[in-house]
Symmetry: C2
Subunit: 340 residues, 2 copies
Amino acid sequence: MYGVTIHAPGDLRLEERTDPVIEKPTAAILRVSASCVCGSDLWDYRGINPVHNPTAMGHEYVGIVEQIGEDVKTIKVGDFVIGSFFASDNTCEICRAGYQSRCEHVEFVGGAQAQLLRVPMADGTLVATPGIPDADLIPSLLAASDVLGTGWFGAVAAEAGPGKTVVVVGDGAVGLLAILAAKQLGAERIIAMSRHVSRQKLALEFGATDIVEERGDEGVAKIKELTNGLGAHSVVEAVGTQEAMMQAIRSTRPGGHLGFVGVAHGIEIPGDELFFAGIHVHGGPAPVRRFLPDLIDRIWKREIDPGKVFDLTLPLSQVADGYKAMDERRAIKVLLTPGN
Amino acid sequence: MYGVTIHAPGDLRLEERTDPVIEKPTAAILRVSASCVCGSDLWDYRGINPVHNPTAMGHEYVGIVEQIGEDVKTIKVGDFVIGSFFASDNTCEICRAGYQSRCEHVEFVGGAQAQLLRVPMADGTLVATPGIPDADLIPSLLAASDVLGTGWFGAVAAEAGPGKTVVVVGDGAVGLLAILAAKQLGAERIIAMSRHVSRQKLALEFGATDIVEERGDEGVAKIKELTNGLGAHSVVEAVGTQEAMMQAIRSTRPGGHLGFVGVAHGIEIPGDELFFAGIHVHGGPAPVRRFLPDLIDRIWKREIDPGKVFDLTLPLSQVADGYKAMDERRAIKVLLTPGN
């Protein structure tokens, strides 16, 4: 089968690889229907994360189950399934508390930008849709695998809900879907911090009520201005940089909630500032599995359309163009089809 | 009247000062029944916080109302009252959300180590007891003014409760009272991190079920050992140093809650570690006012005896000995009586 491998920053190749096999009786093999490029893939692509060895790329996927191990009980061959980038047993104490991304037996699922994918702990990781989805639902179901689940977790961690003013820092796919999540969770006012017209448009479609273009101290001042000087009840940080994190902390009112889901790179949070801010902070790699059944249900009923974040679709053979478009911010998010 | 002033690190004096007067119609003047020395007073005493000008010390107090401004409605002359170190209006949006220590009109209440004390916004700050308390209740009521309220907030922020394993980092008065709070909130197991025999004893009296003497990485390893490798559900950080904070973060299980109430000094929290920890963090200056009615009720009914943290009582005239005893950790907490 064919799959995408990164050999060095900027050097992506679609290569023939050995077909994955069932090594443990709890695993499943999927024929990938669609995968995509994640903002976090760009850390490797840009050389910010070192690339020591050729690495199979991609961790967001939907597909049809082609083979299952003998211990797999709930997932069947032929099911259309969605899973998270972290495989989980979904039975340990941490999973039962809703933190499947920190499962006691967690395994990273890599190599999804390929025709076939092995998923460990299939019963605890994969969720089947009610049937084979219509083609137009596939982008949204794929979004649930990571960016929607992550944005949703950000909004939940920020305790977005009725009566709340929510600020979203970051207008990438995760930030945009945190807006959609905040809206679904009933937030009264949703302020998107964005300076890109195309992203502002999608933010408004997803439920943003206000756009703030300013950043840093000016952005914080603007948020204060919009919230009677208090700051927002709920803030989602969906970038992962020092500037975005400080902007998020300073935009949250005392007693408010900050959900941070941007993978932190080089952030140092000053303890005294966090102390005197008096806010709640929660975040980390999203426990997508917690939310998958609910998200699939909302997508299946066409209540939400998170697939709109995919503004470029390419076959695997053009994967390099896809990374480039995202790196240059010409595309919000790139969907990859297994065809050539 | 007489009050304690710090002139330079280590230089404390009981001096004659002008009697406080009602400057705003919402203030009250108390005749202080008891005050005390706070761990945070030691930051000045030790010269870690700079002392630029002679400063009136003390921010924990109980007393009898001697005079009220014309706008004060709920507090009467002759009431025995307790207030927090932060005066609050208790009516603004932030106060109503339970964050009176970040009230929109917050004022610090300083100079409580004195015979008389002016408290701003008396209606929003002070809570009267049901009557004049018996003398033996005064230490516990005084504790409610800060250390009990702060320890309680730490336990609440850490979501201590039934079925939970709680770790308390720090065996000062706040840490010890976080143990008492966790017990009152129904925690199943309470692990005190302490290496001082006298404090371990009080920790056990307050409800600790386990003592861990190890610190740093060894302390974390011990906590993991006691919690099936997972870490605690709830951790209270009651010190305010880098080591204690990292020990607290690393002792919390994924999805668990860290309440931090040690006033942060020079702490830098690495964002990537916090991200991958997947924990909830909440803390800051305790909104003591939120808890005062409940705490007074529990003390009045003699359900709790937080006054046990005072292991040295001195008259104001011997205040310097009191600071020295706490600085040298010979005393857990020093109660100051207004007499000579």
